[in-house]
Amino acid sequence: MDDPFNLSAVAMLKDTEDLQTASAVAAHLQALRHWQKRARGSRVHRRPRYVRSVPGRRPNKRRKFRSGLRATLRDYFVLNGDPPVYNEGDFERRFRMPRSVFLRVYNAVKVRPFFAQRINATGRLQAHPLQKVVAAFRVIAYGEAPDRTDEYVRLSASTFAMSVRELMRFIVDEFGSSYLRPHTTEELQRVLTHNAERGMPGCMGSLECSHWQWRNCPKAFAGMYQNRHGKRSVVMETVCDENLWIWHFFVGCPGSHNDLNVMHVSPLYFFRYERRMAAPYIFLHC
């Protein structure tokens, strides 16, 4: 898929349907067979770590990964040359982001080890990266339970949890340096000019702390993470401007901290304290 905006099914499925795939599967199986032969031939007998298909072991569900991929392609991308069922507005509403942003993340993540399509021991293709990305984004967009999306995307709950975790880590590693960073000088100047027009010269943005509740807080941390409402939570400190661009985001303080404690351990305070900022800029408190 050379062109990131090429949405045709052929381009999307190039790595799953053509001869290249068949040869990859064949090579994989060949390697497995070779390995088995070597293992059998050698005198080392290891006890297998996983027990294979024996009575008492719960069988895998026949999920038919491909039907989930086909449904996704049919609804939001292109399948067999037909236009997608849902238009751009639907796409943006359902995934909470424009298609171009989705494709950008998808194209960056699809070659990563967890997301790339794998071949299992029986020579079957496993889930397509598109499914995992769609699944993770739906969980983030709707906050919905994995069982619900299982019906549509056809992945198990554990795969869901893993893809959400992997995708979130990937986004932080890959895009964090460009989308969650301090101002450059020009950007700072632009924000300052804009705020001066609104009547607050020198104002860099508005600052506030918010608590995000933590349901699965371990008992051992219960006291530390308990906020003033008696709920466990983690504090996030944010600075943003009028366009709602987040300039500073600091998360991870236990809920027992108040706004002032958070500010004292926040990088914002340290930068300020070490005079790394050029001039006294103003944060407004809510």
Binding site: R96, M97, P98, S100, V101, V139, I140, A141, Y142, G143, V164, R165, M168, R169, I171, V172, F175, G176, S178, Y179, L180, T184, R198, G199, M200, C203, G205, S206, L207, E208, S210, W212, Q213, W214, R215, N216, P218, V234, T238, V239, C240, E242, N243, L244, W245, I246, F249, V251, G252, D259, L260, M263, R272, P280, Y281, I282, F283, L284, H285, C286
Partner: protein, 88 residues
């Protein structure tokens, strides 16, 4: 307004009981920029519903990763929606 913040040179809070016309005007001008971050939290929860619910992760690291990823994706969408912003 949060009374907890000290009146440092770089942090500005409204005057609680403005004595003169100058302070009254200053408070009035602050009203709109002060609300920016409140709007941000409203948009974040509306855009990513996962932020509405209590988190279900078992370690703080995972929570930090998810929260940061939500913020990054918010910025990516903001960049797309508002022409003024061009990321590096």
């Amino acid at each position: 307004m949060d009374g907890i913040y000290p009146r440092f040179a770089y942090s500005v809070s409204p005057f609680p009981d403005p004595p003169t016309e100058v302070e009254v005007t200053s408070d009035r001008l602050q009203e709109a920029p002060r609300k920016d971050v409140e709007r941000l939290y409203a948009v974040l929860t509306a855009r990513f519903h996962v932020a509405l619910y209590p988190e279900k992760y078992s370690t703080v690291e995972e929570m930090i990763a998810v929260t940061k990823a939500v913020a990054i994706r918010h910025n990516m969408v903001t960049e797309k929606r508002r022409d003024e912003y061009v990321s590096l």
